[in-house]
Amino acid sequence: MRLKAFIARPLLVILLLLAPFARAELSLEITTEGLRQIPLAMLPFGNERDLTTAVTPIVIADLQRSGLFKQVDVSGLNPVPTESAQLKLGDWRAKQAADVLLGSVSIEKDGKIKIRYVLVDTATEQDKLSEVITVAPNQLRGAAHRIADAVYEKLTGEKGVFSTKIAYVVKDGPSYQLRVADADAFNERTILSSKEPIISPKWSPDGTRMAYVTFELKRPLVVVQNLSTGARKVVANFRGNNSAPAWSPDGKRLAVTLSRDGIAQIYTIDAEGQEQPRRLMNTRAIDTEAVFTPDGRSVLFTSDRGGSPQIYKIPLEGGAAQRITFTGNYNVSPRLSPDGKKLVFIQQNGPSFRVMLQDLDTSQLQNMSDNALDESPSFSPNGRMILYASRVNGRGVLALVSADGRVRQKFTTQAGDVYEPAWGPLP
């Protein structure tokens, strides 16, 4: 039951090369209208045949998956240049390439792999990047992702997210699993198997722990799991529901929803579960789904205090809640971009539940969805992509859309439904 997404036709040429290796297939839809892609010539690195895992196809797949790069034709080169001095840059300018990525690998005496790579600007003829990475032979995928991150950051000015991880829940028949995979769907592993539901996985800001809600004891409890040891702490086990964990930016506290006092209200607790919970509001309404602002001083949350669920903001020190959403009768599941300037959430419109993006400065609202049954959106840690759950042909799938709406992907599992995605932090 591997996570995978399915291949789209225009990219069949590149991705077929990956097919024998891949447990993941990607569906990548790029709307070409007005999309400015950087034309990049990505040459296969020298001596990759000596490696267990070729690095260049992973770099190319990462950069292509971002939707921001267009691969310039690199066929017919003989020999393939592996150093900038070997490049005929006039030829690459003629092919409209803005930059050329090339390099080579070698196996050291101690068995480690040394990867040299260069990114050359075809216009200025300067090396924009010139680096050497040395890794163990079983870290080649990670090295490829680091190279893709470096190229991405150099050419776009944004941090790359190719070395990040995603978590999600898979339900297959009667069993539920909480899984973690690399952002390209490889190296999937199960961190919790259960016969009862699991929801709301949330990465700690440093990526070492996962908070989630488990129904293993037939009622919802909040657990924090150490990812490298598997050790778990039940941090909220009060009467009623314990759910909706959200990490404070310093990783020391969690906001949680507890119904211990008769109705869902938001409390903060220490992440070790040691203190008594501190209640944030006192309403007769449902208050839930808290998320911290990046400065850690307020939370945004869902409340139906106005009669139907809307999104509000409240300072942690206390004070009035400020309403944030005003369109429609059902706005839930708020998540903030890493810079706190954009809000993504789910809006009901008749029979449809859609991902909406709101600019918090201008209040401008944009529909990000291409479907009708969306849930649980979250931002990538560079704020460029929105990951959410959706349903396609009756099955739960994960969907990605770029914040400008131009790039979309879908991920599915071989069996069952996948939902409740959570994007991990930058490494």
């Binding site: 024998p20 290796f21 447990r23 267990t52 895992t53 079983n138 870290q139 995928r141 973690v180 995979a181 490889f186 999937e188 592993r189 199960t190 961190i191 919790l192 198997s193 259960s194 539901p197 929801i199 709301s200 488990t214 129904f215 293993e216 004891l217 919802p220 409890l221 657990v223 990812l227 490298s228 040891t229 598997g230 050790a231 778990r232 702490k233 039940v234 086990n237 009467r239 009623g240 529901n241 759910s243 929803t257 119904s259 008769g262 109705i263 869902a264 579960g273 040691q274 449902i286 839930t288 789904e289 869902t302 139907s308 669920p309 839930v332 599941s333 789910i346 539940f353 049954l373 849930e375």
Partner: protein, 182 residues
Amino acid sequence: MNKILLSILVAGALAACSSAPPKTGASAPVSETKVAETKPAEAAEKMPEAQPLTAPAADDTPFPTKGQNGALGQRSIFYAFDAFAVTEEYKPVAVAHAGFLAGHSKAKLTLQGNCDERGSREYNLALGSRRAEGVKNMMTLSGAAAEQIEVVSFGKEKPMAEGHDESAWSKNRRVDIVYQGE
């Protein structure tokens, strides 16, 4: 019911078997099966699977037989979308079970709140809880002791009907009455 000892305390620590080997993720990606077996698999960061939590043993407590005639034989109360008040149609069910609790001081039950599949999982968890608390309020007003009634919500996680239309959804918007020991 499993006879397993309770091993959880509020805010207690659970140590998983930290020497347990990582599972599926540590196996080699398909690309590496071409190479000699001595080459190591891609080192996925170790993320071992957690050990399950354990549940308390069940007691011997009285409960009304299921499927009997009348309101006491009914175990579910149903709702309209986003609604949480008990309607006139279902009041007799809440009152009948409250009467059973009032007459059997050792009886205990759990009210399980549920929602249809639409919308946020967490909001639905809260809504399911609100439905169940509403039934509890009605029961305590009808003579049951609050200590005899537990409230839990499954939100939309445990649908009774698996379809994706109003016929299925209406079956899933409900509170179930489940007695301890049955």
